[in-house]
Structures are given as C-alpha cells and as structure tokens.
C-alpha cells in the first residue's frame, strides 16, 4: 500500500518540523528584534548558525558511523555514514551561502581567507570528495570500505573548523552561545535556539528518509542482480539443455 519512504513516525516528525519552520520564519523575520549594531541583518544568523552546528553534527555522525562500519562491517552503519554526509553537505552549503550574504553587508566582503572561512571551504571540498567516492562504480562492500576510510578525515577538519575562531585570529566572530556567559539578548537567543531545534529536527527527519532511500537503492541493485542471474541461468539451461544435459558433474 505504502509506496514511499514515509511511515507514521516520520509523518509526525515531518509535521513537527514543518510547524517548526513556520515558527522560525515568524520569529526570525517578524517577532525577533533588530540588533543594535547590525540591525535587521542579524536575522540571517538564525539560518547560518543552526545549519553550521547541525552540519558539524552530521559530519561527526558520519565519522562515528565510518568507524563503526570498519569494526562491524554492517550495511546499517554504511548507510548511516552515507546519509549523514549527504545532509551535512546540503546544510554546510546553506551555511556558506547565508554566511556570504551576511558578510557582504556587514563585513563589506562576501568572502575572505581567514581561518574559519578557509577551513569551512576545505571541509566542504572534503565532503564533496567523500560523496564522489560514494558514487564510484565499484563492488558495494569495497566502496563502503573505501568511503569509510576517506570519511575518517572529516573529523580533524570538522574539529579544526569548529575551533578556528578560538585558536586563531579571524575576521569571523567567536562563539556566541557556546560559552559561559552568552552575550546575546533574550528574544534573539530564543530565536537562535529555536533555529537550532528546527534544523536538528530537519536533520533527523531527512536522515530517516535518506537512510530508507539508500536502503531501497541497495535492494533494487540486488533485485537487478538476481534477475540478471536468473536470466543468464535460463539462457544457459535453454541453450545448453539439449546438447549437454548434465552440466554439473562434467566440469
């Protein structure tokens, strides 16, 4: 009956996420006040910061799943690593776009090569490389193993990227809420936390769906292989049945 990757659980989760996005738009674009220094531009932070956080989280999941895959060699971990990296790449792209659109009116430039921006670009390229490995025309187990090894590299880069503003002098400002005394006013903080929650929900929801899509891809591959094998066997038995009936014991 149900010809999609949805289930009751994901429908509920998806509905909550949708409502969350409506709330985020309401708070982010209307209810939350403008910032004293940067004015309305602060509204882009409610997209930029949550996507960055969740993307970092997604890559951490990919690394953990890669390690688990190398230890256990199960399809489940392979699919988790793959799906998480895909969603992380999308979110990191959103981080880059929103950051550039914020940077132009605030800093005066779309892009600059400070430590945070450089490591983010590097991380993005690494993920693209990882996803390229995922598309290699290879035996599935082999590809999974390769991808798991390549995926491990996301960890140091993610960590360096996350701490870049603390370790080095950057144009990018330092952490705002991940510190002991958040320097941010009430409603702005609330909207930011709301954004984090909404994007985290989106991640979980997309993750479940991506996992199922990837799982189905594998099953369809298997089915294709099964049919191909069955056809070859039919061909073989059809063509060879008369001249050489006993194929087994002879060779």
């Amino acid at each position: 009956m149900n010809d999609s990757t949805a289930s009751t659980g994901t429908r509920v989760l998806g509905s909550i996420t949708l409502v969350g996005f409506a709330a985020l738009l309401l708070f982010g674009l209307v209810l939350s006040p403008a910032d004293a220094a940067q004015g309305e531009l602060v509204r882009m932070m409610y997209v930029h910061v949550p996507t960055a956080f969740v993307a970092f989280g997604a890559f951490t999941v990919t690394v953990a799943a890669s390690v688990a895959y190398l230890l256990r060699r199960t399809e489940w971990w392979d699919l988790v690593a793959h799906g998480s990296a895909e969603i992380g790449a999308v979110l990191l792209a959103a981080t880059l776009v929103s950051g550039m659109l914020w940077g132009r009116p605030t800093w005066g430039v779309y892009w600059t090569w400070d430590a945070r921006l450089t490591t983010t670009a590097l991380l993005f390229v690494l993920v693209l490389g990882y996803l390229a490995v995922r598309r290699l025309p290879l035996d599935r187990d082999k590809r999974a193993g390769l991808a798991a090894v390549v995926g491990l590299l996301l960890l140091p880069t993610t960590i360096v990227c996350h701490y870049a503003t603390t370790w080095w002098r950057t144009l990018h400002q330092g952490p705002t809420i991940a510190r002991a005394d958040p320097q941010i006013d009430g409603l702005l903080l609330f909207t930011l936390v709301l954004g984090l929650a909404v994007f985290a929900l989106l991640y979980v929801w997309m993750m479940v769906h991506r996992f199922r899509v990837l799982y189905l891809e594998h099953r369809v591959e298997d089915l294709g292989l099964d049919t191909a094998i069955a056809e070859r066997r039919r061909e073989a038995s059809g063509a060879l049945a008369t001249p050489r009936p006993a194929t087994g014991p002879v060779t």
Binding site: A6, G39, E40, A94
Partner: protein, 45 residues
C-alpha cells in the same frame, strides 16, 4: 540603520528553496524505488 532586507530575503529564500527541492527529489526517488521492492523488504511500514 542598515536596511538589509534584500540580503535577508535572498538568504532565507535560497536556503528554503534548496531544502524543498532536495526533500522533494529525495522523496520522489524513494517512491520510485519503493515500487520496485517487494513489500516484505520495506520493514518500516
């Protein structure tokens, strides 16, 4: 005060549009694949 609404709406618009496109494409692909796989292998139903 700065009026950056052009930037803000572009930012929100781009990000949301990208998310919608990706979710739509993914679910479409899911539907297409799901029809090819026997039901007993889709355990989440």
């Amino acid at each position: 005060m700065t009026d950056g609404w052009g930037y803000i709406l572009t930012c929100y618009g781009l990000v949301l549009a990208a998310l919608v496109v990706i979710v739509a494409r993914s679910s479409q692909r899911g539907r297409k694949l799901a029809r090819q796989v026997p039901e007993e292998q889709r355990r989440w139903m």
